[in-house]
């Protein structure tokens, strides 16, 4: 028996595309946020409301990732924002190559901010860099306050965390200790921005829009 040192990155093909995407976005000064959550946390509703209510300040385009269907892209297009749908046909995450081709199908020159709505999954998408500026994790209160402790990777890697559906909390419909969720998310990521919101009622959304506007300005200045 004899040993051979290899030292090869197994996901290097994905990383090459991620680097291409990152270079393109940096050159054109576009903010690109990769939105990750469980299925049903409200990502598309958040995006549709964000687009409609901040359209005077930020021009937004969306890359939608789902296993099947064009449903989400259609919901985004209803707001008049450009959207490209990727169907992963079973794959549990978006890859940088898919995002690379989707970026080519968006009118980048007209946009300030590109959201990538990843496949609903709190685990796998966190391990695949897409070349984005940053990750946004969405947690809805119906999922439970223990998720940051149970799925640390995505909370450790995110720039911001949206705690959605707080209207359910106010109505006493769910038990969710918001302080516990915040504290667990900050354990590995002191700097994470946290926005408790309801994309349904609009509560808390203004702070989120202000943060987005600030991030876009910082990048463009």
């Amino acid at each position: 028996m004899y040993k051979v040192n290899v030292g090869k990155k197994i996901l290097s093909a994905n990383e090459e595309y991620a680097l291409k995407n990152s270079q393109l976005l940096t050159e054109q000064k576009k903010l690109c946020l990769n939105m990750i959550s469980s299925p049903g946390s409200g990502k598309t509703t958040i995006l549709a409301r964000t687009i409609s209510e901040s359209k005077d300040k930020i021009k937004i385009g969306v890359i939608e990732g789902d296993i099947q269907t064009e449903i989400d892209a259609e919901r985004i297009r209803a707001t008049k924002a450009p959207a490209v749908q990727i169907n992963t046909k079973g794959a549990c995450h978006l890859s940088a190559a898919q995002v690379n081709s989707a970026l080519g199908n968006l009118p980048l020159g007209d946009l300030d901010l590109i959201f990538i709505e990843n496949v609903g999954n709190l685990v796998c998408p966190s391990a695949f860099e897409l070349g984005e500026t940053g990750k946004i994790v969405v947690l809805s209160v119906a999922e439970g306050d223990d998720k940051p402790a149970k799925y640390p990777s995505i909370f450790a890697k995110s720039k911001a965390m949206l705690i959605n559906k707080i209207d359910l909390l106010k109505a006493g419909m769910v038990d969710f200790d918001i302080e516990r969720a915040k504290a667990d998310a900050r354990k590995l990521n002191k700097g994470i921005e946290i926005f408790p919101i309801s994309a349904k009622t609009g509560e808390g959304m203004t702070d989120w829009y202000d943060w987005l506007t600030k991030e876009v300005k910082n990048l463009q200045s």
Partner: protein
């Protein structure tokens, strides 16, 4: 969930090296960070399944997890981050920067020496 895709990349990389060496691979050592979302048992199972009928059939994967690393913002110490108790190993500060996770790496392949 994506271990099958990782297994396919691994099989391709090991097969390339096996052709170059003109030898039969027996073991491979893989390392990855804690945040790579890779389950070792699932990866081994997926690899075993797709390696059937190839020159990698029957070989074993050995997966080593690298700890998360942090850099303390108070004393600048670099340290292994304990998930259950994340704080600086030197000054106990909880204010630290999480360093990039170790990549998924094919470290080493062991080949059989056959006549």
């Amino acid at each position: 969930m994506h271990e099958m895709m990782v297994a396919e990349s691994l099989l391709a990389a090991i097969s390339t090296e096996a052709t170059k060496q003109n030898a039969r691979p027996v073991n491979a050592r893989i390392s990855c960070g804690m945040l790579n979302a890779i389950n070792d048992e699932v990866l081994c199972f997926a690899f075993e399944a797709i390696a059937k009928g190839t020159k990698c059939e029957g070989m074993k994967l050995h997966i080593e997890y690298k700890p998360m690393r942090g850099r303390c913002k108070s004393c600048n110490e670099s340290f292994d981050v304990e998930l259950s108790h994340p704080e600086c190993s030197k000054c106990s500060s909880e204010d630290f920067e999480l360093l990039p996770d170790a990549p998924l790496l094919l470290e080493e392949i062991e080949f059989a020496t056959e006549q």
